[in-house]
Symmetry: C2
Subunit: 178 residues, 2 copies
């Protein structure tokens, strides 16, 4: 961040009254600009004992397997973002069944919010973002070919049986042992 | 967003290949700049049958009551942000007891993530952000003087008994009937 998005003036890291961290302040218009973590919203779609995995058709981690998820947009609720990403990446319509996990990746300032989602029917299709989509059982999950630690976490917790049949939320972070 | 934070060039809303929405693109360096919702992380601190409320010493909603919460910073986990905000706004040290609610405010592109948090002891103090802090019982909550709909939602769900004693997560949004 070098220039003010509002007026184009030069930004400098400066102390701001009442704030404990220096912020990017514009010397021309005095606007203060903050940097914030991003929300990645998605779902863990299931049908009976199987879950829906997508093979990534785009970088990063092209060819690895993931769950449908992507950056939340302004003006959305988290649930709308999760449903939209699921439809865009898999063509599947799902019904949300509670929040499954909150997973922080502090080194890249992202937070994954992944919902459990029941597939309404076995209808889904490859998309620009997913070259293959499969419903897989627990023993068919390609654990060594999962794209991101957030997705491994979500799948492990789903199959751990820890929820005891109640929609509860698992909290995790990148770099922590499962 | 008028100017490129990277190079200071003029930004224009343009279609981006593979993206469904126009984005702010710099005509000089071709960087694409996204706008993302912000995470507000906080806690609902409890001690026995009472919860901790803070009277806001700052705008917006100065003088109204709230729970300790604030913008998550880059490089943090959600839990670290919730603990930091609680300490900064109340001086209280708490132990997190699971995620309590996820509340979207799409009109201002914010998402509240509020954890249940057990007070380790009855130690807290006014701060620059909180003019008064009180432990209150259910029948003492000033419902008409709560600062934000997210906080009303969190308190209502906490006292609704719906959790059945299990740490589960309530999903809500601004503008929806409780």
């Amino acid at each position: 961040m070098n220039f003010c998005p509002t007026c184009g003036g030069a930004l400098h890291l400066e102390p701001v009254p009442g704030d404990r961290l220096p912020r990017h302040v514009c010397r021309s218009c005095r606007a203060v600009h903050y940097r914030n973590p991003k929300i990645v919203a998605g779902t863990l779609p299931f049908l009976g004992e199987r879950v829906l995995l997508c093979r990534r058709a785009i970088e990063p981690r092209l060819g690895f397997w993931t769950l449908p998820a992507g950056y939340m947009e302004e003006g959305e609720t988290v649930e709308q973002a999760a449903l939209r990403e699921t439809l865009e990446e898999t063509g599947a319509e799902v019904s949300l069944r509670g929040l499954h996990c909150v997973y922080s990746l502090p080194h890249v300032s992202q937070v994954y919010l992944i919902f459990l989602a029941e597939l309404r029917q076995s209808e889904f299709n490859p998309t620009d973002e997913s070259s293959e989509i499969h419903l897989v059982r627990h023993d068919e999950i390609p654990w060594t070919e999962i794209a991101f630690s957030s997705i491994t976490f979500a799948l492990q917790r789903y199959f751990s049986g820890e929820s005891g049949g109640v929609a509860r939320t698992f909290i995790g972070r990148h770099g922590e042992a499962p």
